[in-house]
Structures are given as C-alpha cells and as structure tokens.
Amino acid sequence: MRAVSTAETATTIHPWAVHAEALKVRAGRHLAVDGLDLSLGTGVHGLLGRNGAGKTTLMRAIATVLKPAGGRLTLLGSSVDGRADLRQARRALGYLPQHFGYYPRFTVREFVSYMAWLKEMPKRDIPAATQRAIDRVGLSAKADAKLRTLSGGMLRRAGVAQAIVNDPQVLLLDEPTVGLDPEQRLDLRELLRDLGTDACVLVSTHLVEDVVAACTEVVLINEGQLVWQGTPAALAEQGDERHPGDSPAERGYSALLRSHLAEATR
C-alpha cells in the first residue's frame, strides 16, 4: 500500500481532450485563429487546410506555446490562459513542432531521455519509456547515434519519439510525414492508429491521403475558422467528379473548400 497523490485520483474523464470556444490566437500581429470552435476526443484527428489557414498557429496554441488572444481553450479539463498553472496539462502533452529543434551532439536516446525529464516523468521510468518510444518509431538501430548524423526522415522520427515518450494524452504532430519515404509513411500511419486508441492525436498535414488512411476524423479549417469536421468516409462523400482531385477524399476536400469560399465571398 502506498500513498496516492491527488493528481493520481483526479478524474481523467473530460468531455473533450481539447475544447476550443470562439478561440482567437495571434501569429505576430495577425489573428491566425479567429473564432474557432473545436472539440476533439480520443482518436486520430487530421488537421487539413491551405497554407496560412492557421493550422500551425492552432497547434501552437494547443501546445501552450501561444497564449489565446480571446475565447476559451481547455486542455484535458484545465483552462489554457495566461494565469493558469499549465504543469499538469503539459505533463500529458506531446508535441512535434513544424520546425523541430534538437541538440545535434545528443544521441537519439539522450535527447528523448532529456525530453522525458523535461516532461517531469518519474526518473525510474525514463530509460524504459525512452527505449519504447525509439522502438515505436523504428529508430532502434540508431538509438545511440548522434542526432547530427541522422537523415531528415530519421530526424522526423526522432521528433515523433520525443513527442510520444511520456505516453501523452494529447499528442500534437505538425507535419510528421515530411521527409519520410513511402514505407516510413506507412509505418507512421500504423503508429498513429495505434496511438489514437487511447489518446487524442492531432496531426497537421497537407497530404489528404495520410489523413484518410490513418485518421478517425478530419478537421478542415480555413482562415482560422472551422470549416468542416467529420469522418474520412464522410469527407469522400462531399465531392464528385466535377471537383479536382485524384481520389474521393481529395475531391471531397476540394468541394468543401470551394463551397466554403463561395459562402465567404457571397
């Protein structure tokens, strides 16, 4: 019998892992997220949108890098604003930024361990969690190689490994497939499906195919607002032969964007 902390007995049941209401976030002086309503639960959510739609800004806000300029944002039940203590939420967060910064002199294992330490994991759990994260992204053979010796695709996977080392409840991956070869992309999809069974995974990408293959839900945003949210199957039903695209999902994506833009200009 051991003492149990209040954090351990706190309810893990939140209506939504990520919940945004009329969320506004600035990127510089520009309001890149402007009145976004979004609720995300367990599963893999593919975040789609054109360049400049606000995908990365939304990711950074959920990652607690940027403070909301307005509206409400809750992460695992705790509110993300200037005053709140974010430590609890941050412990349950995994984040791969669009531009993944790393220490080139560190080995993969050292960097992932270091990130686990920064995420305040219990010291005794770190070595095993590190090994598991490296194994899951398929970098076991390179675990003790220095990061500066890795190729672009390997670095991206090392970035995913550091993001998942703490078994995050909210995992944010900003373009994780950049630099991966086709086989590695298939492996990553597999990993995403696996992670999505008990966590809220938000993946930002330009590749509609990745979303269809790996995501349980599609989130389409434009100019900082939610355009559409639904299953990949429902996305495919949105388009028909008149819309550009090489697959039903791509045609659905085009159809949704077109009708949204038409509405906006009306």
């Binding site: 412990r91 967060l93 220490y103 560190f106 294992r109 050292e110 361990s113 330490w117």
Partner: protein, 440 residues
Amino acid sequence: MSVLGIELRRSAAAGAALITVTVGVAALYTAPGRWSEGWMSLALTVKEYMILLWPIALAAGAWQGRREHRAKVGELFATTPRSRARRMLPVLVAMGASVGLAFLLVVGAGGLWIASTAAYFPPDVVAITLVGALSLVAAAWLGLGIGRLLPALVTAPVLAVAGVLLVFFTAIMRPDWMGAIMSPAYGSSPFYAFQTIDPRVTAVLALFMGGLALTGVLLLVARGPRTSVAAVLPVLLGFGAAAAIVPRDEAALVAPIDPVARELVCTDDAPKVCVTRVNSNVLDALTPLAREGLAVLAKLPDAPTQAHEERWAYPVEDAPTRDAGIVTITVRIDDHGGLAHPDAVVPEMVFGLGTGYGNPECERNGAVERAAAYHLLGREPVSDVGVIPEMIEEEPQLNAEAVELWQGLQKLPAPEALARVTAVRDALLACQDPTGLLSR
C-alpha cells in the same frame, strides 16, 4: 542515464575542462622556475595565469549559453512542465564542476612537481586555491548568462578578449583595493619567496565572485527583462560587501609578507647558517658553501661569523640596517626546488667584503672592490658575467682595472695587502669612496 551525465558528456563542460587543464599545465611547465620555490609561489603563479584561465571559462560558458538559441529548441521546451531554472540546473552544475575541478587539477599538477621539495605549506594556499576555483565557476556561470542574453556567434570570442582585458586592467587598477576585489589575478606578481596574499583579500574576491556567479545564474534562468535587470543586484551586493571589509593599507595589499615564511631556520652548530622557512629545504646544500664563504671573509679582522639568507622585502621595505656580524646571501631556487647557482654563493658573499649591498647613496668603486674580494678568494679577478647569474654584460675596462689592482696587491707583503683590503671594507662600512685605497 541521468540528465547531469548527459550534460557532462554533451555540453561544453568537458571541453572547457580539457582546455583549462591543458592551458594551465602548459603555462605552468613552460617556466617551472617561477613556482618551484614552494606552495605559495605555485598558488600565486596559478593565480597570475587567471589572465588565461578566467577568459577561457567565461567564453566556454557563453558558448554553452547560446545552445538553446542555436538549436532552436525554445518552442519545444516551452511546452514542457519543467521550469527554466530546473532545466538549467544540470548544465550549471556540469559547467561549474568541470571548470572548478580543472582548476584544482592545474594546481595539483604543479603540486606534484614541488611536493618533495617544498618545505613550508602555508594554510592560505588552500583558501587562495579554492577561491581561484570559485572564480572560474563564476566566470563559467556569468558566461552562461551572457551567452543566453546575447546568443550571437561572436559573443564567446568577444568575451574571451574582454575577459583578458578585464583581468589585466583590474589587477593593475588604482585604487588597489578595487583591484583586490574585482581581479581574479590580483596580488599575484611575485617579488620574494615569503610573499603571500592577505586572507581578507582572498575573502573579498570570494564575495565578489560569488555575486558574479549569482548574477550569471539569474541571467541564465531569467523569465523576462525585469529579472535580467535584477540580475545585476547580486554582483553589486557582492561588491558592496567586499568594499566594506577590504583592507585599504598598502601593507596588506601590495606583496604582503608572510612572517612565518620569512622566519629563519638555522643550523644547530656554528658557524651559523640560516635560511628563511620557505627555503629551508636548501639549508643543507647551502651550509658548506656559506661556511666556505665565511672562512674566506674570516681573513679580515672583525669578520662576520654568521651567514643568513637575504630577507629584504624589496620593494615594499627600506633597506634593512646591517649587523656587522652577519653576512647575507641571495638564495636562488632552481626549476626543481633545489639550490640554484651554488657556484655563485661564495663569490657573492665575498664581493661586498661582508658588508652587504651597502647604502646605494655611498660612492662605490667596482674595480677596487673586485680586486679586494679576489685577493681574499686567492685568485685573479674575472668578469661578473658568468659568476653572478643575473649579470649579462659589463665593461671590459672594469675587470682590466681590477686585475691591475689585484696584481699590485699580490706584489705586496701579505699583512700589508690584507690591511689595504681591510681599509676598503672599512670605507664601505663608513660610506666613504674606496678609490685609491689599494694602490696608495
């Protein structure tokens, strides 16, 4: 795999320690004669080399301090719960411990060389060495803070140069007490073997360096510009506290004398030969030479009966008054801590005819004195170059004149020659010009 272990391996800590040890040991062993005299000489010499070591630690800290900026990890790390201060702790410990230990290794490397010959271990050496290590820790931490604040490629090299200038100019600045507080190299210029550093000067340097170290830490962990500005407080407080207790008198600041190191250690039997405690390891080597010199001088009436090491603390003291019964010897120490230039001991004792250096205001005559001295030594005068180690050049005329006078003495009956030599000695003692006393 602990985070401290990772930082020790992957940060600039190991490199900084390696460079510090390499530069420090190389500087020491380039000229071991500067510190072979003993532990305090070693401590002072290492302190002098702070002009190299302190900037190295400062630059290494600055290089390390810009790591997060260089690697662009700020965004990723901002999403983690661990605070900036906690994140910086391992790198502070790694950098501080490695440059501090490196400094102790440098002192230790010198210590190995002198351990068997150094006869006197003043406890102040420990304090001076520990505060030296603290100074390097402070430099590394200040560098970390500045490197984080100004994360440019040129910051480290610019700080290295600035560090050299800072150590140098604070060491020689006026007033002296300010230099004593701020310069990690203050008071390290060696003048004599029984020199020391006042414990209060070591203490105020520790206060100032402690403040500087804290300033570096605050700059490194500051969350915003307000904390960065507040970071100057520790160094100001350190300076203020140091200024309140720093000694202001020259005796404590400029080449202070360790009276224990200057105490005489003598032979038990007569004729008595004495050396300072700090040089007491050469007493056995010096004694037969000094007694030989005393025996030569004993040909004169009322000759000195004891030989003491010269203990004049030039330039902080006036010339001491001489005891006619004692002849002084300049003791030189070689690279290995032994007696250097043993061949010079007897001639140097005899050259002043037992009167010491005499008063510099008195009229002297080099040729007369040399002829008289060589008459006592029983050989023809030669140039001082090659006899007295520091002499590198002299007028050939001087020795030609001395040889002529010496030949004149040789032709005289022994008692008359000795009477003339004695007259020269008496003139020196009375501050009179000895010219002509040998050839009247």
